[in-house]
């Protein structure tokens, strides 16, 4: 158990509402995360389980996994199971084994959440069967294009094994959502994970890929995991990716999804190599679009309000419902971070600080 759960510690999978614990790194623990096995025929250059690496290889049987999942679930320590795996010979065999675990749990009456991270190349008929028992399933994209992918995952093909699977998963999810509408069965959205910094793709490329996946495959939430070199792998000498990069990418993906900001809008905030800086992308975006500000709290539209740093969709909604507003104190009560928003807003034509004052103070 120890080896196989450690093998998933870099996987992000949190989706359901309740977290039962938080790791010392602040990440939420809400599922029992495990690999079925860390035997793998793959040679992904960043992965601790790649076949050429000398590590202790172990597996858990479906019975053992279901038993642990049940115990933690009854204890109210988890919401369900996250199951990934090394490739046992062929992706098809591996996915079949993952399906076996999920089916066994459901047959035993398990009502919790099941998330399967599948192998690139999982056949469609297995995806269909998995959709019957799992709440969420998907394949990791890892990077932004075919050539990058073949560099880090030489055994798989980006177009066929990843993009095609993302497309199928999207279609299956849409079908299942219709089927389960009105029931309390949870059908999770399409998801995928990127390893940030294993190859040299700039942030602009990652953001454009995420935006494209959102449109094409209804991706709701991408996960990012900073590259961390693993000893005895081809990338062991590479530098780790800074952790803030992952955080800034999460912020951008949130702005894409929840704020309706377009991927192109971020072009003004990248450096000359296409990388984000270590500061809040929304603030950078506002600074780069000075002509849009200040917005008047009592007349601005929802979409203008949410562009203001310090105002999110919830507080923008409260502002719209509570107009007219007369002072900043009222904004604070509505959840606005007034200190951040001040240079970008005015109340009934009056602003307390000009944007240029603020920018000067920042510089």
């Amino acid at each position: 158990m120890k080896y196989l759960s450690s093998g998933t510690k870099y996987d992000s999978c949190n989706q359901s509402a309740i977290c039962h614990a938080f790791g010392p790194d602040g990440r939420c623990i809400q599922l029992y995360k495990t690999l079925l096995t860390n035997y793998c025929s793959g040679e992904c250059t960043y992965c601790p389980n790649r076949c050429e690496r000398d590590v202790t290889r172990v597996s858990l049987s479906p019975d053992e996994i279901t038993k642990i999942t049940w115990s933690f679930y009854r204890k109210n320590a988890i919401e369900g199971l996250f199951l990934s795996s090394g490739v046992i010979g062929e992706p098809e065999i591996t996915s079949q084994k993952q399906l076996e675990v999920a089916t066994l749990l459901r047959q035993q009456g398990f009502k919790g959440y099941i998330h399967l991270r599948l192998m690139p190349g999982t056949p469609k008929y297995i995806l269909d069967q998995i959709a019957e028992v799992a709440n969420k399933f998907g394949v990791n994209a890892e990077t932004t294009n075919k050539s990058n992918y073949s560099e880090i995952c030489p055994n798989f093909d980006y177009q066929n094994d990843v993009l095609q699977r993302l497309h199928w998963t999207d279609r299956i999810i849409r079908k299942k959502r219709k089927e389960f509408r009105g029931t309390n069965r949870l059908v999770g959205a399409n998801d995928t994970q990127f390893v940030v910094g294993a190859v040299n793709e700039p942030d602009s490329e990652i953001v454009n890929t995420v935006s494209e996946f959102m449109k094409k495959y209804s991706l709701r939430r991408p996960y990012f995991m900073s590259f961390d070199p693993v000893p005895d792998t081809p990338l062991s000498e590479n530098r780790p990716s800074p952790l803030w990069r992952e955080q800034r990418l999460y912020q951008v993906s949130y702005l894409l999804k929840e704020y309706g900001i377009k991927a192109d809008d971020f072009d003004v905030v990248y450096d000359e190599h296409g990388f984000l800086s270590n500061s809040d992308p929304k603030l950078e975006l506002a600074k780069a679009n000075r002509d849009m500000f200040p917005v008047d709290i009592n007349s601005a539209s929802f979409s203008d309000l949410i562009r203001v740093p310090g105002i999110g969709p919830i507080s923008a909604d409260r502002i719209l419902r509570s107009r007219p507003l007369f002072e900043e104190k009222e904004l604070t009560r509505m959840g606005v971070v007034v200190g951040r928003a001040r240079p970008f807003i005015c109340i009934n034509g009056k602003s307390q600080a000009s944007l240029s004052d603020f920018l000067e103070a920042c510089s």
Binding site: P24, G26, K75, N76, D228, P313, I314, D317, R333, M334
Partner: protein, 281 residues
């Protein structure tokens, strides 16, 4: 005139409608009719004083009362906030709520449902905070309370600051529909899926009755297994005590022993030294 009511949503809404009609009436509440009768004996000036009782109503009549109190737009609240009926229920469960003042506040909203959410008045802000505190407390229980698992029963012992043990019990019952669940707070036990034990589906009993139902314990090694699992999820060079403490605040340690252990590791990190290292020196 005296308006009496119970601390339940339907009764509170009814009392708010009465107080709109008779703003100078006195408000008096009790958790049951006997308590109200007893309080009336002290409060009533004479036998001619008019008493208006705001009876509780069943849940399908609540929308009608909400409509009367807040007009047709009562369900048009922000998507980000919890629905108004839930809001009212949460406030009623808060340990510091002054129920009579809350009834007057609802009546004083003058049909504007936004007054519950926009925090523009001091009172509105207070009740909004109450609502948030109760929901937070309930969520914390769902997150950090742990259970003891027996062959025939799941038990959780809790002591939350607000009256939410019944809610938590129902939630645990829905999670484990195939087993009876008992949530014990002091000397009261709330039971969900009680039909397996010959009780009602949801029931309230003296805690002593549950004690006798505990069979042999079955999950002793489980906590160690959890500790091992928890440690596998640690990424050493990503320790972030600030964020971790924010996510799992200190008060959560009081909710269960396992949460306290997790919280300790959040604060101190996970020790790499094991007994094996010691013996192999």
């Amino acid at each position: 005139m005296i308006i009496t009511f119970f601390p339940f949503v339907g009764s509170v809404l009814q009392a708010s409608l009465y107080i709109m009609k008779y703003p100078y009436a006195e408000l008096l509440y009790g958790s049951n009719s006997a308590e109200i009768e007893m309080k009336l004996c002290f409060v009533k000036k004479d036998d001619t004083e008019k008493i208006l009782h705001a009876a509780n109503v069943c849940s399908d009549q609540i929308p009608e009362l909400m409509k009367k109190l807040f007009s047709n737009k009562w369900h048009k609240f922000s998507k980000a906030d919890i629905p108004p009926v839930k809001y009212i229920e949460c406030v009623l469960r808060h340990s510091s709520v002054d129920l009579a003042a809350f009834v007057r506040f609802l009546a004083g909203c003058n049909g504007n449902i936004d007054a519950l959410y926009n925090k523009r008045s001091r009172e509105g802000k207070r009740y909004y905070t109450y609502m948030r505190e109760v929901t937070k407390s309930y969520h914390s229980l769902c997150m950090f309370a742990r259970t003891e698992v027996f062959d025939n029963l799941i038990i959780s012992e809790i002591n939350p600051p607000h009256s939410i043990s019944d809610l938590f019990c129902k939630w645990l019952g829905r999670r484990n529909p195939d087993l009876p669940v008992a949530v014990i707070q002091n000397d009261i036990a709330y039971i969900a899926n009680g039909e397996y034990l010959g009780y009602k589906h949801f029931d309230v009993l003296p805690a002593s009755e549950i004690e006798s139902l505990r069979s042999s314990k079955r999950d002793e090694k489980l906590e160690n297994l959890w500790d091992m699992y928890y440690c596998t999820q640690m990424i050493d060079n990503r320790r972030n005590p600030g964020l971790a403490k924010k996510m799992q605040p200190a008060y959560t340690s009081g909710i269960s022993r396992m949460a306290a252990k997790d919280r300790y590791r959040v604060e101190r990190g996970i020790s790499n030294t094991t007994l094996f290292d010691f013996t192999s020196i």
